[in-house]
Amino acid sequence: MKRTSFLDLSLMRKHSRAFALAPLSLAVISGCSSGSQDEQVKFVTSVSECTTTTSLTESECQAAYEQAVLDAEATAPRYQYERDCLTEFGNCERQGSFFVPFMTGYIVSEIIDEVGDAFERKHRYKHSYPAYLYSGSGSYRNKIMTSDGHVIGSPGQRSYRVSRDALKPKPKVTRTISRGGFGATASAKSNWGSSKSSSKGGWGG
């Protein structure tokens, strides 16, 4: 057979699919996606809580905290208006020209460093990400959430099982200083003459 043997048509239907993207913070609230393995993490609100509830040393807990703070600067959900941020997270601060939620705590996962001395195995943090308490309406209210909207669970549990997807590095959010530097050449070509008026106007070939 020279053709694709099977296509899952249900994946190709577009009736319910909109081209427009939802706002960032809601677009990615997807929960755990199927198929990927889970990992155990802890949610801590301070370095001292980290040292008492995990096997990590104080300096590892401090390093994990600093990593989470750094990560928050790059990945925290950003809002143009403070009220929008407050609606979803309750406590917000200004960061540059945006508003971002206060980091409620951080989630850490541990790994035993086998590379070192076999008799003195060290616990190190594998992941450390900022976490926020969602306080908007709906079923995610009062749940712990990562920067990109993965829901970890309700506060107060000893540990949480989360999907590997939730622990992937988060996309970096930055500050855009200009827009519109691409597209002018296409626009100049499509303004050419009149015959393009009957064309589809795309730039494919």
Partner: protein, 395 residues
């Protein structure tokens, strides 16, 4: 190879609507045309199209390898010197490609002749990989076509597999898909490729080309200020080079689909280079740079193509000296916005005619594998962007 008129599926427009195929009719004229289909034999497909497609692709890669090392040739390809390092690096790194489409004149009897290579921003892949596949399923289900009817079309399967390979190379990155605003066709094409990437497990996001921004470190950003680290762009490299942000290309940690070295393949200067490296290859038409016209035999009619021409724009017919041919109404020149970058010349080779239609075959490659064909028909000899798309079968 036959053109066989047939009944349209009674409900096909509703099916198109269901699957979000929005550009089947454009400005009141048919683009998707299922009032006929083309029928091939397996031998015509495998020997006539599939084998030459993969061979020519390898020949094209040899051209890239020759051009990329040679400043004079890069100049002939009208690629700005400021972009040479960027393009060279992508070739030396072995940046992977996703897809291309080779356009052939083929009538089922003779040898397929290469018209050009759309290696950077080919479109009509949704119609090919998905929509004509659905057409065949429906036709077979309704017993209008024999159950043994096949199609040269593993495009979608190969696309998803290719995206899986690319995902393994970029496991942590989100893939941004981009095209220009105000074009339903390009938006639909990009949506289809995004669907295939999602099926391969890739995290995706969409951004319009015009909405791309930069931060203070010259990183490209999307409309939500996320840093773009991996991008599919349905927007030609030569336009990006000309645009304002062209001068900062290469300063980002970003993977591109198609990669920058495709700027050499999607360029009409590829055609005379292929003829130089592989003279008299049966699937090639003689082709020449402007300063090589003295090599053209006196009885040869030429087609003059701008180096950056797209969708049949600004193409004209000339004699062996490159002088325009007047008065022959069957050879209709086309207008367009290209040409200031220079021209190349290719031997005129008319498209085969089936029931008064000029028929062009697009042969798709996913990476380096021939994956299927698309058929475009036009009432005129130069296939332009309003040509109709027809399905095909193998029987």
């Amino acid at each position: 190879m036959l053109r066989i008129p047939c009944e349209e599926r009674p409900n096909w427009e509703a099916t198109a609507d269901e699957f979000g195929f929005k550009f089947h009719t454009l400005y009141g004229e048919k683009y998707w045309d299922e009032s006929a289909y083309y029928q091939f034999t397996l031998e015509q497909i495998e020997q006539g199209i599939e084998a030459p497609t993969e061979e020519i692709h390898q020949m094209c890669l040899a051209v890239v390898d020759a051009v990329i090392q040679d400043d004079d040739l890069l100049e002939r390809f009208a690629i700005p010197a400021s972009q040479w390092a960027f393009i060279r690096k992508s070739w030396q790194n072995g940046d992977p490609s996703l897809y291309s489409r080779l356009d052939f004149a083929y009538d089922g009897k003779g040898v397929a002749k290469l018209y050009e290579n759309n290696a950077d921003t080919p479109t009509s892949i949704y119609e090919t990989g998905f929509w004509q596949w659905v057409w065949l399923e429906n036709k077979v289900d309704s017993k209008a076509l024999n159950r043994t009817a096949d199609q040269f079309n593993s495009v979608q399967e190969k696309l998803v597999n290719r995206f899986k390979e690319l995902h393994a190379l970029n496991p942590e990155r989100t893939l941004h898909f981009a095209c220009c605003k105000d074009t339903e066709e390009d938006r639909g094409t990009v949506q289809y490729l995004e669907d295939c990437a999602i099926a391969a497990g890739i995290e995706t996001k969409f951004v319009y080309i015009e909405d791309i921004g930069i931060d203070q470190d010259n990183q490209f950003t999307d409309i939500d200020n996320l840093v773009i680290q991996w991008m599919f762009k349905l927007y030609p490299w030569e336009f990006m080079f000309e645009d304002e942000y062209g001068e900062i290309l290469g300063k980002q940690n970003i993977r591109w689909i198609e990669p920058p070295w495709k700027a050499i393949l999607s360029n009409k200067a590829l055609l005379p280079m292929l003829w130089k490296l592989f003279p008299n290859h049966p699937n090639l038409l003689p082709a020449f740079f402007e300063d090589e016209l003295h090599l053209v035999p006196a009885d040869m009619t030429l087609v003059k193509k701008p180096i950056f021409s797209r969708e049949g724009a600004n193409i004209s017919f000339t004699n062996h000296l490159g002088e325009p041919i007047d008065g022959d109404e069957s050879l209709l020149d086309s207008d367009g916005p290209y040409g200031s970058e220079g021209y190349i010349y290719q031997q005129m080779h008319v498209l085969p005619v089936f029931q008064n239609n000029h028929t062009l075959i697009g042969s798709w490659l996913i990476d380096d594998q021939a994956a299927g064909i698309s058929i475009r028909e036009d009432s005129q000899a130069i296939t332009q962007d309003m040509s109709r798309y027809l399905p095909h079968i193998i029987l």
